[in-house]
């Protein structure tokens, strides 16, 4: 039943340890209080970090400078058209540094199964307003119609849809876009039949450098040879395929001089808003998307989301702190006689404090570690549980939306440990102040 071996261990920490094991129920409750608070903190933080990361990626994909996208009125980047001459007009506007033409479309990959379809509709459906707004804006960046189109299409239809991007490799290199973001292989050098694909697409389709892929747009089909894989950080583009302007025009049935949009990069210190107004004034039938302003708005959205996060975190931490305090208070009440006895047989106040601090430190550390593990697993748990609890709601890709940073772990540790330890010490201070006689008579 009880081993003889433990007779030799008689230090204060063993006593603390034995007290914790001897009062298992209370110990588990306190561990849970710390662990739940910490796991919620980690879960919430990793969600904001993940969102910020995605937004950061989106900003980065637009180059180091803010930019203005000019596209055909009404159709957005996917269905609108611009004449190439407009590019030359924009280029002459003072303050414009580079004008980069692109063709966009939603194409289908033939004979490819995407393992993890992600759609904006899914995410906004689950994550409520804040997440929805963020995703909408990401879709908005791709053009006004894209959002409408995503809503119109069913999820099943979207599953094999990818973004088709027609690019001019030389100009994209200058603005530090696709060709400089290759993680495998290289940009195609022939203007016909070469393609690079985004990392997410590569991961989900199993396609790699050297593979052939058949792209369908409307009734047209074309085969491409994959020469490289890029990662720009924007989830929509990273789940896309980039080909030459000529091939993209061909697939979409666009004229030789037509493009979907011009990405306009201003000279340093020139406001994107000013450039946008100039373009509006000089070119007819052009709609403007000021990416600089959009990113700012997006940043504000994230800040707003963070404020909510902090409020929830504060409540979570306070609640667990209160719970720990109540639990320790209760245990002190239970142990008043014990503490009185210890004081009577010669334990000094600091000795009693030390014992109780050891106990709450152990609980705080173990509970925090437990909480961090649960917090990291939370998105996976969520994804596994959602279909069971709510079979009709599509599951957002929580594991992809969250990001664990070392800062989150460090903060979790600090918060978990301090609240656990303070929650233990405050009542212990009170108990050790009591005179032994009062403690005996306290029954």
């Amino acid at each position: 039943m009880i081993s003889r071996g433990r007779t030799g261990n008689m230090k204060m920490r063993h006593m603390a340890y034995r007290n914790l094991l001897g009062r298992m129920f209370r110990t588990i409750l306190m561990l849970l209080a710390v662990a739940i608070a910490v796991s919620l903190f980690v879960g919430l933080s990793s969600l904001t970090e993940g969102m910020e990361d995605k937004m950061g990626g989106a900003t980065e994909s637009m180059g180091e400078w803010g930019c203005v996208d000019a596209m055909g009125e009404g159709g957005g980047i996917f269905y609108g058209k611009l004449n190439g001459d407009i590019g030359r007009t924009i280029d002459r506007i003072p303050g414009v540094r580079y004008v980069v033409p692109r063709v966009y479309g939603m194409a289908e990959l033939k004979g490819v199964e995407l393992s993890r379809p992600v759609s904006a509709g899914q995410i906004s459906g689950i994550m409520g307003e804040a997440g929805g707004i963020v995703m909408e804006q990401m879709v908005g960046m791709m053009g006004g119609t894209a959002g409408k189109m995503l809503e119109g299409k069913g999820i099943a239809e979207l599953m094999n849809s990818v973004v088709l991007i027609g690019i001019d490799p030389t100009k994209e290199t200058i603005i530090n876009s696709y060709p400089t973001k290759m993680i495998e292989g290289s940009i195609f050098d022939s203007p016909i039949g070469g393609a690079i694909i985004g990392k997410m697409l590569a991961d989900e389709s199993g396609l790699g450098v050297g593979d052939e892929v058949r792209v369908a747009y409307g009734g047209k089909r074309r085969d491409f040879n994959i020469t490289g894989i890029y990662e720009v950080g924007n989830p929509l583009e990273d789940k896309g395929i980039a080909v030459s302007l000529r091939d993209a025009r061909d697939l979409k049935g666009m004229g030789r001089n037509e493009v979907s949009m011009f990405r306009v990069i201003p000279e340093p210190h020139v406001e994107t808003g000013t450039i946008g107004m100039w373009i509006k004034a000089k070119c007819r039938g052009v709609s403007i998307m000021d990416q600089g302003a959009l990113m700012e708005a997006l940043g504000e959205q994230i800040d707003q989301f963070k404020v909510y996060e902090y409020i929830v975190e504060a409540i979570v931490i306070l609640a667990s702190f209160g719970f720990i305090l109540i639990m320790t208070m209760r245990s002190i009440a239970e142990r008043t006689k014990e503490i009185g006895t210890l004081r009577a047989i010669g334990w000094q106040k600091p000795d009693v404090l030390k014992l109780i601090t050891m106990e709450s430190t152990a609980i705080a550390i173990v509970g925090t570690i437990l909480g961090i593990i649960i917090g990291i697993l939370l998105p996976y748990l969520f994804q596994a549980m959602m279909p069971i609890v709510f079979p009709n709601i599509p599951v957002p890709p929580m594991t992809e939306l969250t990001k664990i940073t070392s800062a989150t772990i460090i903060y979790a540790f600090i918060i978990g440990c301090t609240s656990g330890i303070i929650g233990g010490i405050v009542p212990a201070l009170q108990a050790s102040k009591m005179s032994p006689v009062d403690a005996f008579r306290a029954e």
Binding site: I2, S3, R4, R6, T7, G8, M10, K11, M12, M15, R18, N19, L21, G22, R23, K337, E338, G340, T341, L342, R343, A344, I345, G346, W347, Q348, K349, D351, K354, S435, P436, V437, F440
Partner: protein
Amino acid sequence: MIETRNVTKIYKLGDTDVIGAKEINLKIEEGEFLSIMGPSGSGKSTLLYLIGGLDKPTSGDVLIDGVNIVEMEERALCEVRRDKIGFIFQEFNLISTLTAIENTLVPLIPMGVSDDGMARGMKLLESFGLKDRIDHLPGQLSGGQQQRVAIARALINEPEIVLADEPTGELDTKSGDELIQLMEKMNRREGVTFIIVTHDPVVSEKTRRTIFLKDGEIVKD
């Protein structure tokens, strides 16, 4: 040696004063085996706590080996309790999560348990007939066995004085008898002063000196 000089303890309960001890003058020599008798509420525990430095008198002095403990600071008083005094309580007051030997060693823990301390603890438990109960938790021991562990704990620091507040109160007659015998043995063998509070005449008969209290006053010595 213990000496009390005009020790009075008045508890304040709202507006009313409750007398716990009144003008107590006592001299207890080293190695005495003494009992304090009296009806419930007569101030037996109060006197014991005052002698043991657990509580301070309203007026008067308590001297242990000529040192007035009434004037001592809490820290020093704690050391006196640790080094010179052992306590035994009616309800044993063992720590429920610790084994017999661990409970015995508890007074040593803040300073560190030496091999000597460990050996002494084992020897005490063995001589109290608890050799095969060393690793048992209090919940696995009978009342008599628990109280013997409590005596071992009281003696671990080799105190000069052991103060016992109704140590047989929760025990049956046989265990109570054995316990008093054990205390007497330790008194004779190691010269430890025992002051035993009881309201059981059978217990007080076994002591060499009995003090009778009533309403906080000594009525017979």
